[in-house]
Amino acid sequence: MLPTITVDVGTTSIKLCMFGAGGGLVASARHATPTVQDAWGEIYDLESLTGAVVDFIRDLEPSARASVKRVAITGVGESGGLVRPDLSLASPMILWHDHRGADYLAPLDPADRALIYGITGLPVNANYGLSKVAWAAAQAREAGDHAQWLNIAEYLAALMTGQRWSEYSLASRTMALDLNLGKWSAEACALVGLDVGIFPELRNALDGSAIAGDYARATGLPEEVRIHVAGHDHMVGAVGAGLQHGELLNSTGTTEGLLFLRDAPSLNESSEQSKLANGLSCTGADYTLFASIPTGGSAFATLQSMLGMTAEQLSACVITLHERYVAGQVDLSAVPLVLPQFRGSPPPTKRASARGVIAGLRTDTSAEDLVLGCFLGMALQFQDVLKLFPTQPDRIKVIGPASLNQLWLQLKADLLGTPLSVSQLNEVVSRGAQALASDISCDWDTCQPEDVLVNDRRHARLGEWYAEIQPQWEYLKGVPA
């Protein structure tokens, strides 16, 4: 591997790391993802974000900084903004879950939507970049002349290199990329009144660019450093986890992702109706089939806030619940049924307006019951989404903060009846970014995985419980927002 600085712009935090030649972590920092409000909602606070990156680099030990060969940038898909040739902004830098462009998709009829799925492999949704680009272009008018759409990771790379380009896995989240041709689709762009020229040239994650002299001088980085856009964070995580065909990557961040590698896109009616998202891998060698569950690890913070617990108290509660659960001391019939759609629903509905429901509350329901119900609901939601995929996994690899939550993992394994292989290393995504920038593949064993095995008795009990609550679960999923 090459000594690399990685930048991972997540939903709730920016992870900054430096890895040495042996892959060891030299330095790291984490900041809350800085945002500000504009008239339409929340947008990136770019001054704070770029400042945090520069500060991290400057604060490295001089010898470590001098050893850096690569900077690899990854982050959430679907975010972005219009950037002029001089790298000034012609629009706000919009967050991935922002729906300010939704009106541009409203006129699309079923035929248009089917056409878009056939071209881009994505179900029409305002999360994806296309409607945001249309909104931004309309807002910018002539001030947006020659501006191009860059994802937040691509924008950071542009600031470091002076060049604008788009990486394939991120491009495949814009709903403007022709998946089969690997080119921007003029047809998809035309459906929202855009010219395809608003999107920049495409590059593989393996293809970096030289650092700009000004940026090198400002940060103290060597001038031979090359800057890579590693790609969409879930896809970069697949690289870090050495994901193979037939395996499922379950990445657990603020949201929860389910990702398969494939030889070809899955564009059939079933996948379209299930709103599964096709894409390209960071290397461009594989196709990906992906589904995102909007409420993932964010549920932990939500519970913590609601129940008035510190992170340590909630962690202790989770540990206690895990101990009780594996000891068979949990009465599932007393646990409330939690539909954890705190941030909208996952496929196959993908309704941003969906909201969470907690049913089965009794006068003796305790805070612990709520916590257990929440993680059980998340395991149910995962099971539902996994069933949407055309193939079921040979192995499930879990990365992200869930590796610390034995309750969530065990509930998931027992409910599915499938063991999990769980990375014990943090920042698998950042390691994937380093690997891409180094043009080296990763081995799952380096993530020091541990197995979470299925207990037959608990699996059977959860199966009985699921049979009992399934009608109510399906009903709650179907109620209008």
Partner: protein
């Protein structure tokens, strides 16, 4: 100073208050707990009464006494005066199937037409059928059926196990009106309805008029002098209405274990929509009433889940905006009577990452509880029983959040009577009647809450959540069986 005693044998406790006959001022009082179960041996209520009398310092200086108590709950007696079996309380939900049967057999409208009661699982007649169905042997030995206050009054008269004299049982119009075998129009029992439910006849307490006297106390009752007049007593709500000096145009919202809304009316009502129970009051008028099973105890759950006190729950709720940012609670934690959902449980709706926090949850608990109560005011209005003023009483009435939020949910002035034990006060007024032959003129001080703008979305959210879960349809289906 001449003293009279009022007894409130409620669901949870027995309270005895000794008052100045001239002013109604409390002089002293005593309390004793009732068992928490919903099927209880009546001896527990008699023993609690004696304990409460003892804790009140005895009644040797008292010149008259009267008992009010929980409505509906039957006491089954054999010919010797012995209790036949344990009694199912009004809030025991095991009699749901009997309610369905009785509605099916005679028709829901027939019960309303004959008795003014949309039959619920709480009514005495469903408990009578429950005994016939579940314990035919006990039903066979039953010679008389009284309600709790009837039986306690009879015990005060010196009757009890082995004494016989069940033909000396008396009651009042309010208690008889809760049996569902008494007519508000005729003022007579509907013996055919009783016999239909029970499968045979039994002695029913003689219904006395408001200014009658039940008798005098027997000898040998610890703490209670022999030979003092006993008032006819009443159901708990009728006693409170009497003490509050309720006039036509007034409605009362009582937030205790259950939630109750009632108003004074000159005539009985027949609510074929199935919500309003046409009870009689303690003055010769009528007291149409709607009740929920879940009310102030909802706040126990809210405080427990948030790990806070009642005061903190109130403070938190006042930090949130009306509507709790869309977070909506249906508080049917133990099933519900209005609407008729005995198997329902509580549910929380509209939870998102942004609104699922402590202030909103606290507010949702209080709004959900009050929305159930406000819905009952609407049903009274549908029966042409209009409230021009709302009196807020009960254990939760002192909560600042309850007062503020209720004020935002109704379009009539809300007044909070000064704290008192209104049920014991009403009973004491009936004791005074037994002594003097007329009702005393005891004053009630009230504080009118400052007006607040109506926040219609609170009620709208609650109604939408009910619709979402299909609870609107559930009522008519379940009543029909």
């Amino acid at each position: 100073m001449m003293l009279v005693a009022g007894v409130d044998s409620s669901t949870q406790t027995c309270k005895v208050t000794v008052r100045d006959l001239a002013t109604g001022m409390r002089v002293r009082e005593g309390k004793a707990s009732h068992p928490p179960e919903t099927i209880v041996h009546p001896d527990a209520w008699w023993n609690a009464l004696l304990t409460a009398v003892r804790r009140a310092g005895g009644l040797d200086d008292v010149v008259a006494i009267s008992v009010s108590g929980q409505q509906h709950t039957p006491v089954f007696l054999d010919a010797a005066g012995d209790v036949v079996c344990e009694s199912p309380l009004w809030n025991d939900t095991a009699s749901h199937s009997q309610m369905v049967d009785l509605n099916n057999e005679l028709g829901r409208e027939e019960w309303i037409r004959r008795t003014g009661l949309p039959l619920t699982l709480s009514d005495t007649v469903t408990k009578v059928r429950w005994l016939r169905d579940t314990n035919p042997e006990a039903a066979g030995r039953t010679a008389a059926v009284a309600v709790v206050h009837d039986w306690l009054t009879w015990r005060l008269m010196g009757f009890g196990p082995g004494t016989g004299g069940v033909d000396q049982l008396i009651t009042d119009r309010s208690e008889a009106s809760g049996t569902a075998y008494w007519s508000g129009e005729t003022g007579e029992y509907c013996m055919d309805l009783f016999e239909h439910a029970f499968g045979k006849s039994a002695f029913l307490p003689r219904v006395l008029d408001p200014l009658d006297k039940a008798g005098v106390t027997g000898t040998g009752i610890p703490g209670i002098p022999a030979g003092i007049p006993i008032g006819i007593g009443s159901g708990d709500n009728a006693a409170a209405a009497l003490a509050l000096g309720l006039s036509e145009g007034d409605a009362v919202l009582s937030l205790g274990t259950s939630g109750v809304v009632y108003a004074k009316s000159a005539t009985p009502v027949h609510d074929y929509a199935g919500y309003v129970c046409s009870y009689a009051d303690a003055t010769g008028g009528h007291l149409p009433l709607v009740a929920t099973l879940n009310a102030a105890r909802n706040f126990d759950l809210g405080a427990a889940l948030l790990g806070c006190s009642y005061t903190e729950l109130s403070n938190l709720a006042l930090q949130a905006a009306p509507g709790a940012n869309g977070l909506t609670l249906l508080p049917y934690f133990e099933g519900e009577r209005t609407p008729d959902l005995p198997n329902a449980r509580g549910s929380l709706h509209g939870a998102s990452l942004t609104n699922f926090n402590r202030p909103n949850f606290a507010r949702a608990v209080i709004e959900g509880t009050l929305a159930s109560q406000v819905a009952m005011l609407d049903t009274l209005r549908d029966c042409n029983v209009n409230a021009g003023r709302l009196l807020l009483i009960g254990g939760a009435a002192e909560s600042p959040a309850v007062q503020r939020i209720l004020n935002q949910m109704v379009d009539v002035p809300v007044v909070v009577p000064e704290f008192d034990e209104y049920v014991t006060k009403g009973a004491a007024m009936q004791a005074a009647v037994a002594l003097t032959g007329s009702f005393p003129s005891w004053q009630v001080a009230v504080a009118e809450l400052p007006t607040a703008p109506l926040e219609a979305q609170i009620v709208q959210q609650h109604a939408a959540a009910k619709t979402m879960l299909g609870y609107d349809e559930a009522k008519s289906h379940q009543l029909a069986g």
